[in-house]
């Protein structure tokens, strides 16, 4: 050892010599003196001078490697963290703001979910006693309209961009000059629900006295307003409460889908339709009669539905009135007699349900509405089911004023016009006339967010932002207020309408301040129990609503003072029995009047009844189609009043013979990429009769145009083929006798006698020790509106695939609503079973991943990409999926969706996933799936996980109903109930305990896949019909 210490080894002769270069580099890892000044070499190389052969190779090598690496790497998008994190904003934690959705006269109090400052999801606000936490598909989809790439980025003069200062200067000077010469200034808007906005408008009119405010609605209810004026001296629309009605009769009113306030009505309607455990144990339900032309969503839910022609509408109302009057002692009126099915039955039921009856009509004819009022009056509906003392403000449009405005504009008597929330060139029957005369108006301004059909003709566009960027308020119902607050700052250089008006009258343009002051003066006095206005304001902002009238209830009846006889004369004059082909225009539940047409989610949302999307079409009954020798998809020319459009034919069971129904809201030309050229504009078919916009025509022509256009339908087979394992239904009388009525309980014959199929199993099953997530879907409460479908799409980043891919049957919706028509055929006749009845019974069945406990998809996946969780979830691991699609094939419910293409950043799918703005609506909690993988409903596992983590942090167990899926939350009728089946306190457990031996069934129970989703039988409040009775017996 000693010896070793003294021994020295040199690395080289340099060490021995203690060379200065060596000493310098002695401690570095690579002490190679030759490389010490290599940085200078590099400079030389990079400078392009002094390049040696080896340098060249180095650079080449580096270059090749760099290029190769760059080619491998996906482009890096910058994620910039907050420099200074805003208080109370945490990345990945959602903030919710209460706000208010208004689109024309549509209203919903909403909660806006924002992530890192961007709204990504709209939920209903349960604090609102008006919208009661419900939403519609359009409300759900409205968040995507915020990120619409086709919107204007700033104000425009004609085609050119200008800045706001210039716009303000020019518009103010022109307004002043118009006002100075006494020229008429017209502010044309759709229904304005906001009292503060109306106050601004009033100030505007005060400043420019020649101004007046004209409201009109594309889906006008002016006839109702005028009828109430004539009947009760109140030009309003009353509140309707369907929950209190035992008998509901609707003549042409699609009150669950599109009429006045559909999802609000849907909520109260469903209260009367729920039975058993979900209906507080009651075993009675309302009976619903529907008389209508096309099969609407409301008609699809009716117990008795009669197809009538538009020319019979007034006569049916009058006949119903006469029949009820005969029973209840009213004065009869004389109109032409009309003979349609179920009229006597409806009258009998109405009379029997006096005080618990309701009659509504979708007609815009005041004469019809006066008779409806008289009928409701006879039935004692005022003060019970109808509350005229708490009117709603959803439709304030005045067709006569609008008509007069167009006349004025045509004759050049308008000096200035401002359009807000209105696109009359597109959506008014006289839009073409207006289009020609806008140029005659010296100052025309539109507040539209895009250069739409009207805005593209005006001189200035002062784009107003989306409602999620705005301050506002609303009074949907007298005494019920709500606030709208922005959830994001203005994305583009837009300015809200109110601020623009304030600017133009020379007031401070900050509408937030204005609104606050407005509430201080107008709302604060109505409130009590607040220490200061600020406390009140914060509370209202937090809750989103302020409802001083809440709980006031139905305040008394109303004394009817209408002239029924006169109305009857009006009806007689207008409605005459005809034999010709008639036209009925209608709104689709998804697209409505067309104002949100550029929303790809709504375009791709299948219509509840036809299951068609991305188009409008001419709906004909099979009989009429046969007479005209037309088939589905044939192109026809529909001609009304000399105007003609070419549409494909859809064969619609339930459509009145000799009628054609066409949806409005399509055929947009200047709405944007998603909407332009989709369908045809049917508004020109509407007409203004006696000052009222009417959406039907008693004389139409349908002629074969030659050629076909395939209609994109997500469901092409209409009937359930007598499969009781899929759809289980019964009638109320049977249900009252036996809660299991209508249930289908197949038995399997074994050596030990018959057994239920679930008693025999190959599988060991999975333990669900903690939670067992499940769902109950009440087929009685599901009205088919599709709000859940869009909610799911928004929550789960579901791609839009477009018309052709829907035709290819590749829509991606995780949740769909199956719609089945009944068939008249005998169960053995399989060919005939494929054909729907002429006027079918309809059932809606939401269908989503059933989260089978014995999931057929799980066993067949070769790579374990789909597996079972300990909480009863069937999980899909996108990363692991290799895309064999075996799982989708083996799914008995066909709920799995395959990514046939890359649906993002793909110009073939130029929707919201193809631009950076549209992608802002993406939910960061959910992966955007790549091509080649399967996806499906996850029971919103991201929400389950988030709630579980929150509970864990708070050291508690989950509350019984703490987790809600996107679909269950969106449903305004509570048809979808989600929860933990292991928690006895949860709603779902309570329902299932009660309904296990009642209405609850699993779809396809006999194949023993044991779904986590139970359905509750569909119950119709119908009398037993002989045929049905025998069939049920034979089935039993």
């Amino acid at each position: 050892m000693e010896e070793n210490k003294t021994k020295r080894y040199w690395k080289g002769v340099e060490e021995l010599r203690n060379d200065p270069t060596f000493v310098k580099n002695a401690n570095s890892e690579f002490a190679n003196p030759d490389l010490s000044d290599s940085s200078n070499d590099l400079d030389g190389i990079l400078g392009g001078s002094n390049t040696q052969r080896r340098d060249f190779l180095k650079v080449m090598g580096f270059g090749m490697a760099a290029v190769t690496l760059a080619a491998c790497e996906a482009p890096v998008h910058k994620a910039i963290p907050y420099i200074k994190k805003p208080d109370l904003t945490f990345p990945s934690i959602s903030d919710y703001y209460a706000s208010t959705y208004t689109e024309g006269g549509e209203y919903a109090s909403v909660l806006v979910e924002t992530r890192e400052g961007r709204p990504i999801k709209i939920e209903g606000n349960t604090l609102s006693s008006v919208s009661k936490g419900g939403t519609s598909a359009r409300v759900q989809a409205s968040v995507l309209s915020l990120y619409d790439i086709d919107k204007l980025k700033g104000p425009k003069r004609g085609e050119s961009d200008i800045d706001w200062a210039t716009a303000d200067r020019e518009i103010i000077s022109q307004l002043n000059s118009v006002a100075a010469r006494g020229g008429a200034i017209r502010l044309v808007t759709s229904t304005i629900l906001s009292p503060a906005t109306k106050a601004v408008i009033a100030e505007f009119i005060a400043k420019y006295p020649t101004a007046s405010h004209i409201m009109y609605d594309a889906n006008s209810a002016f006839g109702v307003v005028q009828a109430n004026q004539a009947s009760f001296g109140k030009a309003v629309i009353p509140s309707y409460d369907f929950s209190k009605a035992q008998t509901i009769v609707s003549v042409g009113a699609d009150f669950l889908g599109t009429w006045i306030a559909p999802f609000e009505f849907a909520h109260s309607y469903s209260q009367g339709r729920k039975v058993g455990a979900v209906g507080n144990g009651k075993k009675t339900m309302s009976r619903h009669y529907q008389f209508e032309t096309g099969l609407s969503m409301t008609g699809a839910n009716a117990d008795y539905r009669t197809a009538i022609k538009p020319s019979q509408e007034g006569l049916v109302v009058a006949a119903l009135y006469n029949k009820v009057a005969a029973k209840l002692g009213g004065t009869a009126i004389s109109t032409a007699s009309v003979d349609v099915a179920h009229l006597d039955k409806a009258a009998n039921d109405l009379a029997a349900a006096r005080g618990k009856a309701i009659v509504v009509s979708g007609s815009n004819d005041p004469n019809v509405q006066i008779v409806v009022n008289a009928l409701n009056n006879l039935l004692g509906s005022y003060g019970t089911t109808i509350d005229i003392n708490t009117p709603v403000n959803y439709r304030q449009g005045n067709d006569q004023q609008m008509n007069a405005f167009i006349d004025e504009a045509k004759s050049g008597r308008v000096g200035a016009v401002l359009f807000f929330g209105a696109n009359p060139v597109y959506e008014h029957p006289r839009g073409a006339e207006l289009a020609e005369s806008i140029s005659k108006i010296s100052l025309s301004v539109s507040f539209a967010d895009r250069a739409d059909e009207t805005a593209s003709l005006v001189k200035y566009i002062a784009p107003a932002p989306h409602y999620l960027e705005c301050w506002s308020d609303a009074e949907p119902k007298q005494g019920f207020y709500s606030l709208a607050q922005p959830a994001i700052t203005n994305i583009f250089k837009t300015r809200q309408f109110q601020s623009s008006l304030l600017t133009w009258i020379g007031k401070p343009s900050d509408f937030q301040v204005y609104l606050k002051n407005f509430w201080r003066t107008n709302r604060y006095p109505q409130a009590s129990g607040f220490s200061s206005f600020d406390a009140f304001w914060v509370k209202c902002l937090n809750d989103g609503v302020f409802e001083p009238n809440k709980g006031a209830g139905v305040a008394g009846g109303a004394s009817f003072a209408g002239n029924v006889a006169q109305a009857a004369t009006g009806i007689s004059q207008r409605y005459k029995p005809s034999t010709g082909l008639e036209l009925a225009l209608y709104e689709k539940v998804s697209i409505g009047t067309g104002s949100l047409a550029n929303n790809p989610w709504l375009q791709e949302m299948p219509d509840p009844v036809t299951k068609a999307c991305w188009d409008n079409y001419a709906a004909l009954s099979q009989k009429t189609a046969n007479e005209l020798s037309l088939a589905q998809n044939d192109l026809v020319n529909v001609t009304v009043n000399g105007k003609s459009i070419e549409l494909p034919v859809i064969i619609q069971p339930g459509q009145a013979d000799n009628t054609v129904s066409v949806a409005i809201g399509y055929g947009r030309e200047k709405a944007g990429k998603a909407a332009n050229g989709v369908g045809k504009n049917a508004y020109p078919f509407a007409s203004v009769a006696g000052g009222y916009v009417t959406l039907s025509s008693f004389s139409a022509k349908v002629e074969k145009a030659g050629g076909t256009r395939e209609i994109a339908q997500t469901q092409t087979h209409d009937t359930v083929m007598g499969r009781h394992a899929v759809l289980q239904e019964t009638i109320l009388a049977n249900y009252q006798k036996n809660p299991k009525a209508g249930r289908f309980e197949p038995k399997v014959v074994t050596s030990e006698g018959p057994k239920t199929s679930t008693d025999i199993s190959l599988w060991n099953g999975y333990g669900k020790p903690n939670h067992s997530w499940g769902m109950v879907i009440d087929l009685n409460a599901c009205l088919g509106c599709g709000a859940c479908v869009i909610s799911c799409q928004a929550e789960n980043n579901i791609a839009v695939v477009g018309r052709q891919e829907v035709i290819n049957r590749r829509e991606m919706h995780w949740l769909r609503i199956d719609r089945y028509y009944s068939s008249d055929a005998e169960p053995e006749n399989l060919k005939e079973l494929e054909v729907a009845s002429a006027n079918p019974e309809v059932t809606f069945q939401p269908m989503l991943c059933q989260h089978c406990s014995n999931a057929p998809c799980e066993t067949v996946c070769p790579v374990l990409a789909t597996t079972h969780s300990t909480e009863g979830l069937n999980q899909m691991t996108y990363n692991r999926c290799v895309g064999t699609r075996y799982c989708a094939n083996n799914c008995p419910y066909k709920v799995r969706r395959f990514n046939w293409f890359k649906y993002f950043d793909n110009d073939n799918f130029d929707y919201n996933f193809n631009n950076d703005l549209g992608k802002m609506a993406i939910n960061p909690d959910v992966t955007v799936r790549s091509r080649g993988v399967i996806e499906k409903c996850s029971f919103c596992v991201q929400r389950i996980q988030e709630s579980k983590l929150t509970a864990k942090k708070e050291r508690r167990r989950l509350e019984p109903d703490e987790v809600q899926t996107a679909c269950s939350q969106a449903c305004s009728t509570g048809a979808i109930i989600f929860g933990d089946m292991n928690n006895p306190e949860s709603t779902i457990s309570k329902i299932l305990t009660e309904e296990k031996d009642g209405r609850a069934f699993h779809v396809l129970e006999e194949i023993n896949v044991r779904p986590q989703i139970s359905y509750l039988t569909k119950i119709r409040n119908k009398d037993e019909e002989p045929k049905q009775a025998t069939r049920q017996e034979s089935h039993a």
């Binding site: 469901q715 092409t716 087979h717 009937t719 359930v720 083929m721 499969r723 394992a725 899929v726 891919e805 290819n808 049957r809 590749r810 829509e811 769909r816 199956d818 719609r819 089945y820 399989l830 060919k831 069945q845 269908m847 057929p856 066993t859 067949v860 996946c861 070769p862 790579v863 374990l864 692991r880 999926c881 290799v882 895309g883 064999t884 699609r885 075996y886 989708a888 094939n889 083996n890 008995p892 419910y893 066909k894 799995r896 969706r897 395959f898 990514n899 046939w900 293409f901 890359k902 790549s930 091509r931 080649g932 993988v933 399967i934 779809v1003 396809l1004 194949i1007 896949v1009």
Partner: protein
Amino acid sequence: MSHVTSAVRTPLVTGGKTYADVTEDISRQVEGKPTRAWTIAFTISVIVLIYGAACVFWTWWEGLGVWGLNKTVGWAWDITNFVWWVGIGHAGTLISAILLLFRQKWRTAVNRAAEAMTIFAVICAASFILMHMGRPWLALWALPLPNTFGSLWVNFKSPLVWDVFAISTYFTVSLVFWYMGLLPDLATIRDRARSKVSRYIYGAFSLGWNGSAKTWARYEYMSLILAGLSTPLVLSVHTIVSFDFATSVIPGWHTTIFPPYFVAGAIFSGFAMVQNLMLIIRVVFKLEDYITLEHIESMNKVITLTGSIVGVAYLTEFFIAWYSGVEYESYAFINRATGPYWWAYWAMMTCNVISPQLFWSRTIRRSIVWTFTLSVVVNIGMWFERFVIIVTSLHRDYLPSSWAMFHPTLFDISDYIFSFGLFFTLFLLFSKFLPVVNMAEVKTVIKSSSEKLPASVSGVAKGERVANPAFNKSVE
């Protein structure tokens, strides 16, 4: 392998071939220049292959959306083609393994080409396994790879994993068996080779075959062992392929009859394909003396037998669907026969059940034109059988709301055409560069089962007989 063959049996080799004749006749196309017919056929195949490969590339590049599949029908032409090719791939091993064990001497003339066909058909089938995946670049995840490839294991419950094992085992064993059988012939060609290059290449591939008794003995042992190994595989591969359907829950798929029915169908279509290929080869390569009408007739008998089994299976399915009382099952079968795809069903019934029954007639059975036509018909029918099983079962299963139609696109068709390009390119390469008839094995039957010539000429090489008219005279 010597055994006694009855004198009344029709000879397996005609034309009084000598050992030298066999070698000469069969090695001729390997050693000679490519014939005109071969060149034309090969050019066409390569063009088809290039076109098909471009379409397959586009399918891969764009995504499977270029096919006509949809949310309801998740498999159609892809898996139809896959099962069809796997089915075709059954004949080779059946001929070489089972018929070997059954001592069917006639197989010696056709087994080489049949085995080659098997291997190429399995390659085509495998190409559809890859093609049908949404993300084929991750296909390796279907293999039970060690954890370095990811922490997940495959799902042994999945019939697709069983498929991976079954097909890869079958492919491996078939390849080894085929190659084993090639060894003596490769050595023959090596020994006859004139150019250094071919001597080197054939020499390398013949693995030092020296023709010693020991080598021959090993060769025989190996043949028997591999035949023993292959025999269960013949049955297992299509049984397992049928599990892809049989273990599922879809009405029309969930059937216990599938394994035997699929195996019979596979042999049926495989023999039909062998017929097609052999009928061409025997003419083009002038091998009529080796692949005689006897061979054709024997294979036609097998086709009739398996076709009848398949027919019985079709009827049994219908009976069981009715007898089971299961609503979905009965509907699935009624829908097959009368639904929107009735034409596919009746095409299948006509081609598979009715057409092979024509072979009961000896004239038809021994007619080359009839045999060729009917073999094509059988393969069309068997393609339709898989299409019917896959598409008509899927397109209308449990929930009528999801019922949909499948319409093929250009890419469905072109990707199928690709497999033809691949198959024929490979087969033509094989037929040019390797002996299409197993010379060594044919020689084993020459003594016992060939056409006997007069004593004066027997043992005289054919070349000499042709050159010397005296010999010819005696033959006549």
